[in-house]
């Protein structure tokens, strides 16, 4: 059914599949978040922020798969050491990305709850929603999580210190 591939290539394929789900899901979440910020009515904002939800399992499964199969790949290769700079950097970036993404997600959920409330009460925006939508700190969490994912990709391809 499948063309012949080595154990290493299987692991690499699954590791990269995890990375595709993680970054693809993050891009989709970022797109919905951008549309939510630009929406005119609270109902549209709430709708777009609800659209982020189906991307979360992809991001979660992707990040876990990338980590597990990545560590397995390190174990399979005798010439790659677990405490190499680029492996440690990847693990740190993975943790930072998760923490920032989680904080950004909480901010989005809070924004969605306010947008839902306003949508049910006349669908007119107010200062609270506008402040949440353009809150630099809240939004920065999500964009910095995206930046951490980008640095993770650079680290994986560049492999500094190897």
């Amino acid at each position: 059914m499948f063309p012949p591939v080595s154990t290493f290539d299987w692991l690499l394929m699954l590791h990269i599949t995890g990375a595709f789900l993680l970054i693809g899901g993050s891009v989709a979440a970022g797109i919905f978040n951008t549309f939510a910020m630009r929406a005119e009515r609270p109902s549209d904002t709430a709708f777009m922020l609800r659209m982020v939800r189906p991307t979360l399992p992809l991001i979660g499964i992707g990040s876990i798969a990338a980590l597990i199969f990545g560590l397995w790949l390190v174990h399979e290769q005798t010439e790659v050491k677990l405490f190499s700079f680029w492996i440690v950097a990847a693990l740190v970036l993975w943790v930072v990305m998760g923490a920032l993404g989680s904080a950004g997600g909480k901010h989005q959920e809070k924004t969605r709850a306010v947008a839902e409330r306003l949508a049910a009460a006349g669908d007119t925006s107010d200062d609270e929603l506008r402040t949440l939508l353009h809150d630099t700190r809240g939004n920065a969490m999500s964009w910095l999580a995206g930046l951490a994912a980008l640095l993770l990709l650079i680290d994986m391809i560049w492999k500094p210190g190897q």
Binding site: M13, S26, V27, L153, M156
Partner: protein
Amino acid sequence: MIAAGRPFLPLFLHVLGAMVLVGAMLSVLFLTLAAWRKPMALLSKSAFRTLLIVAVPAWLVMRAAGQWMYSKEGWSGDNDPTWLGIGYLVGDIGLLVLLITTGVAFWWNRSNKAVAGRIVTGLSLVYLVMLGVAWLAMSGKWS
């Protein structure tokens, strides 16, 4: 883990373009699926914009960087491996699918006809499957 001894910048741009393209197509798929349950002008407009502003530029980056890497790594077209052929096939046929999807999304955006949205769902799903086959073949180095 992706690339030992391969040119960094073209490979990075190729992979990044492909990942952004997958993310854009996922967004379009989710937007069109949402429209099956709740038709809204917002969804057709967002799907069309995502295709035009994110998916098409991402395809360009992915394909141009792929070609850059192809020439840097010295492939000639003679006895190229299967995974490379699959990548080329999905890349080039994918452009056709992507442009047709964008065209139908434009029609959906202008007309708000449900059938147009359903065609976009089908096309984006087909394209995502094609991209999935390409990334599996290229990362697993199918021989």
